[in-house]
Symmetry: C2
Subunit: 352 residues, 2 copies
């Protein structure tokens, strides 16, 4: 039915070993033989069976990616970065999304044994360390923006704290003293770090960060919209709001419009993530840019270099913990700029 290396061998009148040699080019083969083999391969339309090859070479050329339940833009960008550098290096990507608890992660980890050479694990909500410790086995693992207590793994994280702090400092610099926070899910690592940035920036300025200035959102547009009502009833009203992600800022803007509050005149607003549409909002949204694709790409690079270093028994050439920097993007919503054409060339950018 499906043509195997032995069929090709028979067709070319050589042994299977020779076919393998020609295809992989490790050993010298006579020119004449090479030609005959090439012809047979072509004639039979032979393609080597990856699974069988993996068994003997002990390399699947596949990296597994475990992801939580992710929101729109973020997910795509991340996968894009991961897939792009994987493919460039000749690797495949096996994704497994939307893991909510440790048991699920464990099940996936088990099922992946013998299917992947390495792992990228992102789980900002649940602590996967027991599962990883038990079933990670000998696999190189890189954590993406996640925690893993008590087990020493390489990790790549976003500088959530630094980004949030620079945003709040920017708002402080514009004269705001009462700055509210639209927070993310309580157990989410990114959300917590961004909240910490907000808190400490205020502390640095000698200002309080009371709990009643924090709205408990969940990173969704809907929760941002709900925050509108919350804000309307807040007295005295904050003069600025820091939304822990752009999706919430979008919903929030929409709610403010209904309430009749103008941004930035009545209220300054800053977001986080700098999703593509942020520059096209009304007003264009000041935000903290996160190089998401780069995050994915870096994680993949890291796994691959662990993989290579393992083969060569050399120490990895990369840092154990990598933090990818964020960048403050100033647009009109914070009041620092007059609203204007949101083209890339005219938009203000500041380093934190």
């Amino acid at each position: 039915m499906t043509v195997s290396i032995r069929d090709v061998a028979r067709e070319a009148g050589v042994s299977a070993a020779t076919i393998s040699r020609v295809l992989n080019g490790h050993t010298a083969v006579a020119e004449e033989t090479r030609r005959r083999v090439a012809e047979a391969v072509e004639r039979l339309n032979y393609v080597p069976h990856g699974g069988a090859r993996s068994l003997i070479t002990r390399r699947t050329e596949t990296v597994g990616v475990l992801l939580p339940d992710l929101y729109g833009e973020f997910f795509s960008e991340l996968i894009r970065g991961i897939d792009q550098t994987a493919r460039r290096r000749g690797y495949h990507v096996l994704v497994s999304g939307a893991h909510s608890d440790a048991a699920e992660v464990e099940a996936v980890l088990r099922a992946l044994r013998g299917r992947v050479d390495g792992l990228i694990v992102m789980s900002p909500d649940v602590d996967t360390s027991p599962a990883l410790a038990r079933y990670g086995g000998a696999l190189p693992i890189v954590l993406l923006d996640s925690v893993a207590e008590g087990i020493d793994l390489d990790a790549i994280t976003i500088d959530n704290y630094g980004g949030a702090r620079s945003m709040v400092r920017h708002l402080l610099g514009l004269g705001h003293q009462r700055i509210a926070l639209l927070g993310g899910p309580a157990h989410n690592r990114d959300a917590r770090e961004r909240a910490r940035g907000w808190r400490e920036a205020l502390a640095d300025a000698g200002l309080p960060a009371p709990a009643d200035l924090v709205f408990p959102g969940d990173f969704s547009e809907a929760s941002g919209h709900a925050a509108g009502r919350w804000l309307a009833e807040l007295a005295p009203r904050p003069t600025a709001v820091f939304a822990a992600n752009d999706a919430m800022a979008v919903g929030f803007l929409s709610a403010l419009r209904e309430i009749g509050l103008a941004v930035p005149e009545d209220l300054a607003l800053g977001g986080f993530d700098d999703i593509p549409i942020s520059r096209y909002l009304n007003p264009p949204l000041t935000s903290v840019r996160v190089p998401i694709a780069e995050l994915g790409s870096r994680a993949m690079q890291h796994v691959l270099s662990l993989l290579e270093s393992r083969e060569e028994a050399a120490p990895p050439a990369v840092g154990r913990r990598d933090v990818v920097a964020t960048k403050l993007i100033v647009r009109a919503s914070c009041g620092a700029l007059r609203a204007r054409t949101p083209t890339p060339s005219t938009e203000g950018r500041l380093e934190p």
Copy 2:
């Protein structure tokens, strides 16, 4: 190093075959033996090697997904749908993204041999039929919103045509006679079908669809923004615009604001896709909802049923061509509604 089934066999004092029997439960095993084996498995922390198993069972329990270079929300939702139903049925997902030409697709197809049991191929831009015919081999394949000339494959498509037509009819019903189109990439299937819907809806109303009413966009926010200038110079100006996707509508809205045109007062606007933020735009965007996750889910279901039917040598229980319906979502941007709170409960929905 890594523990194999033989190690467990030795530990439990039985043969490897028995371990396999216990783990897979196909044949009866004495209770006492089962217990000993279970203990050994537990003690050695044994996890079967998926690759080795695949080799003999001839099933990898993995489905490959080939995707083009995709935009934000769409990509995530699609993968979400695919991954979700895959996992529910115990399958893995191997993704490979951003394929721009046939040669690339061919290379990936070759590399996937022996790694996947089936394939979901989405390639609205390039015709992959030669590659699929040559290297698809015996694999079950489902096309996602794609064309494949001259080769008979099952396919799932979005009702782009119907969705576009119902949107344009809606605008016509509101009294608009001059309706411009913000088109997508010329070679893209979705874009072409949506353009066709626009054209034929106009034709049905006895109206012309001249080329100068078509802006050649590329589905990006930036091209939507560029369309603003284009529109401003159009004379006589259209009274309504149909954007072939929401991303362009977002950029377009932003440009209109700069130009000083009010939506829907000066210009009615409709989009396509109904991405999550559309309801939070100013004004909330009338759009055509595409159940993207369902699209992915249906594709996966289809592949899996092909897989099963093959094993049972029975005819597949699903239709060869599946069209997923779209739904017109009416909000304020078309002028049919007064702007109001964009909550799910109050927003108008109409069947096409």
